[in-house]
């Protein structure tokens, strides 16, 4: 039945991300796909998932997707709003957040992230927005989920800049740096889901979205991507998920 539904690759990514969010978790949410995914989760299987936006809106319950992390909708629907130093010190750094959702311009095989520059830092080819909350989200939330579109310019052999750490150089290198959180547990793309190998921490393709081939994913990856021996197929979006997601988006004043 689901096969007969039409959906975009962004919708597939968003639904796959939403499915990863458990009920009763505190989720640090960025704008764009992470926000859509978290709100979809809240509207479906995880009604008690608590959405925390970087702007200090705790427990926001937007009925439309905000354009920025500080839209009025977020403050008005939040349980309460706190100043920024408390967001970063009392909540994020204190390790109270279960899941952090991050985007990226580049990721490498150990799920390290670049959102700073393409090219050199001093004379960049493309200057990107930079770090924002990501470096500390990457180290202080109990678990990180990364969402980005997969292509060889994004899934690179070597980052142009290390903005936020994933599993560093793999193995226990993250722990050796004194970081005690799990780090990235999944990278969700329009093609499938990559997860770190339990030992080496190298990203491995564990789930293929319906209709996608392993070759497509390998072609979209600049390194020699490892494939899980028990490769699964992702559950496609169902009609309820698509309906709710589209309704959220249709109510978004700021949608492009």
């Amino acid at each position: 039945m689901a096969q007969t539904l039409t959906y975009t690759s962004d919708e597939m990514m968003t639904v796959a991300a939403a499915q990863m969010l458990k009920n009763n978790t505190l989720c640090f949410v960025g704008i764009g796909l992470p926000s859509a995914a978290a709100n979809l989760a809240r509207a479906t299987h995880a009604p008690k998932c608590v959405l925390i936006y970087e702007s200090g809106t705790m427990g926001a319950k937007p009925t439309r997707l905000p354009l920025s992390i500080g839209d009025g909708e977020l403050a008005e629907t939040a349980d309460f709003v706190i100043p920024l130093p408390e967001v970063f010190n009392y909540w994020l750094q204190a390790g109270r957040i279960d899941v952090g959702f991050l985007g990226a311009a580049q990721v490498d095989r150990f799920a390290n992230i670049n959102t700073t520059v393409i090219g050199s830092y001093d004379k960049p080819q493309v200057r990107l927005p930079g770090a924002g909350g990501a470096p500390e989200i990457a180290t202080c939330t109990k678990e990180v989920i990364i969402i980005l579109r997969q292509n060889p310019r994004a899934f690179v052999e070597k980052l142009d800049f290390m903005t936020s750490v994933g599993h560093l150089t793999g193995g226990d290198s993250r722990q050796k740096l004194g970081i005690h959180t799990k780090g990235p547990t999944a990278v969700i793309t329009q093609l499938g889901i990559l997860r770190p190998d339990p030992e080496t921490k190298e990203l491995t393709l564990t789930d293929l979205h319906p209709g996608i081939t392993v070759e497509q994913v390998k072609a979209a990856t600049a390194w020699d991507l490892k494939i899980a021996s028990d490769l699964r197929e992702t559950q496609p979006p169902n009609s309820e998920e698509l309906e709710i997601l589209r309704a959220l988006q249709s109510r978004s004043e700021g949608r492009k």
Partner: protein, 277 residues
């Protein structure tokens, strides 16, 4: 004690060329009108500080007011690039832009240190990132009790901090509510301050979640309704998301940017802050 001034007078008398200036407001309550007045008065060689430069710093940078930028996230929220910021860093136009780059947690704590009269702040931050390689203002300190290594950032103490607020009372006390961001710390960290307000009331009725800035820590207040457009002032104005999206095309090219600034900012009086609304 706060003095009520016209915005143009406040900017003229309190901001000098070469000053370190912070215009704060985290998505909410961004002091656009004050930024436009700085552009109109052609202040130069400023060091601007702001967690999220946003469109207002894109405009200040593109108009040549800025020598150095201290920041933590330089994008158009939910839209994409800040093209004038990029053009300055990538191509040095209209002048080279020196940058000092932090994470949000680092810069927020730098304001806290500034507000607290401490020379630096400590945080669990920047672990494993390349930022400290390019920013010598990110250092390490060791805990004297546990031996753990922590990141340290120097305090931010602007010469002038500028914010937009919902209300001031006639005695010069100021109140903001909704998303309150880092504004309290920005004002307390600064040597001088300018606050534009939506409304001047007889007496403040303190709201839930409000931040109060007493008259004792405010230098100048200017009554500028709509002064945060296209950002917003909760319970007064709404964020103009359309303008943020339109900014992409206005700002992508130098010519269209300059033409827009000339038409909408340079040739107008203070009320320009509500253009496009």
């Amino acid at each position: 004690m706060a003095e009520f001034l016209a915005l143009s007078e406040a900017v003229r008398s309190l901001i000098n060329d070469g000053d370190k200036v912070a215009l704060e407001g985290f998505t909410h309550l961004i002091p656009f009108a004050a930024g436009h007045e700085i552009i109109r008065q052609q202040k130069r060689d400023l060091t601007l500080i702001r967690m999220t430069p946003d469109l207002i710093y894109d405009q200040l940078i593109g108009m040549g007011c800025v020598r150095k930028l201290i920041f933590s996230w330089g994008g158009n929220p939910g839209v994409g690039s800040l093209y004038r910021f990029r053009d300055a860093i990538e191509n040095g136009w209209p002048r080279p832009l020196e940058i000092e780059e932090h994470s949000h947690a680092g810069l927020a704590n730098a304001y806290v240190a500034g507000a607290s009269n401490l020379p630096f702040a400590i945080l669990r931050g920047y672990s494993g990132t390349d930022l400290p390689k390019y920013n010598s203002r990110i250092a390490t300190v060791e805990c004297p009790f546990t031996g753990e290594k922590l990141a340290a950032v120097p305090a931010v103490n602007p010469d002038v901090s500028i914010i937009h607020a919902q209300q001031a009372d006639k005695a010069g006390n100021v109140m903001i509510w909704g998303i309150v961001g880092i504004q309290k710390e920005a004002i307390l960290a600064a040597r001088r301050s300018i606050i534009t307000v939506e409304e001047v009331v007889e007496k403040l009725e303190i709201r839930p979640g409000a931040v109060i800035l007493p008259s004792w820590v405010v230098t100048a207040i200017a009554h500028v309704p709509g002064g945060s457009f296209p950002s917003y002032a909760q319970d007064y104005t709404v964020r103009n998301n359309r303008f943020y999206q339109d900014w992409e095309n206005i700002s992508k090219e130098r010519e269209t940017f300059l033409a827009w600034m000339q038409e909408h900012i340079m040739s107008e009086a203070e009320s320009i802050s509500v253009v496009g609304s």
